[in-house]
């Protein structure tokens, strides 16, 4: 199989992302784990750009890096969760590693059974933001789940404010 530019780019980004994810779950200090999580998010966004869906890459960066990561950092600042510094009781994580490896092995075997296409059906989309927008808010599309999602966000906003308020 000839390695074209797209494939090399994919391999590099994928390797960096997986390495960052591994480093994240094995990190000692939780602040490093959050920074590595941001690296994973950026890697996934780069993959989306490679796929041609730049809007989803932008959303990924905006929501995850700009929202979730900042939340996580503020949460550990408030709780001073330097959990990595506390001595942990002798707790074997071998079971978890076996389960994770097993899941990975099973999924990969399943994936390789199916003859997936190796070319995308449609070449890089020109300007499908309009199509995405229409699918999202048109009546024949997903307008009702869209409104339900906004309701969900509202409820979560109220709930989080109430749960975390100062007593």
């Amino acid at each position: 199989m000839t390695l074209g530019f797209g494939q090399i780019a994919f391999l590099v980004i994928a390797a960096l992302t997986v390495a960052a994810a591994l480093a994240m779950v094995l990190a000692r200090h939780i602040f490093h784990a959050i920074l590595l999580m941001i690296a994973v998010f950026v890697g996934v966004a780069a993959l989306y750009v490679l796929l041609g869906v730049s809007f989803m890459a932008g959303m990924q960066l905006f929501i995850y890096v700009g929202g979730v990561s900042v939340l996580a950092v503020l949460a550990i600042m408030v709780t001073r969760g330097f959990m990595g510094d506390r001595p942990r009781p002798a707790r074997s994580t071998h079971g978890a590693a076996v389960v994770a490896a097993g899941v990975f092995g099973g999924l990969t075997w399943l994936i390789l059974q199916v003859p997936w296409p190796s070319e995308p059906l449609v070449p890089a989309p020109q300007n499908d933001l309009a199509l995405l927008g229409q699918t999202l808010v048109s009546r024949a599309g997903y307008a009702v789940p869209f409104e339900l999602a906004s309701l969900l966000l509202f409820v979560v906003l109220l709930g989080a404010l109430y749960i975390a308020r100062e007593r």
Binding site: Q7, V25, V44, Y64, M83, A97, A100
Partner: protein, 102 residues
């Protein structure tokens, strides 16, 4: 071009790494972040499928957008609960929060 199976295997790898993080770590924030890894893996799958197998419609990406919304909402709420737990119990290690244990 990049075969679809590569994207799926990458997503599977991220999923299992997230699963390991979920099972093996004690800190609540680590658990929430491993959950984010799982959801990211799912999103990669959805978007890869949408690009490679869909023609003329973008349902996969709409689904991925909803997953983003739910992931952000659940992380926010999880961290709020964690702050509340920290205020009462002064710990965020999941094996130390066991008052309901019979």
């Amino acid at each position: 071009m990049v075969p679809l199976s590569w994207y799926l295997i990458l997503a599977a790898a991220l999923f299992s790494i997230g699963l390991y993080g979920l099972l093996a770590r004690r800190n609540l924030v680590m658990l929430l972040m491993s959950l984010e890894l799982l959801l990211n893996a799912v999103n990669i799958n959805l978007i890869a499928f949408s690009r490679y197998l869909e023609e003329g419609q973008v349902v996969g990406r709409v689904f991925a957008l909803f997953v983003y919304v739910i992931a952000a909402a659940e992380t926010a709420l999880g961290l709020a609960i964690m702050i509340a737990v920290w205020r009462t119990r002064q710990t965020v290690a999941v094996d130390e929060i066991d008052t309901l244990k019979g």
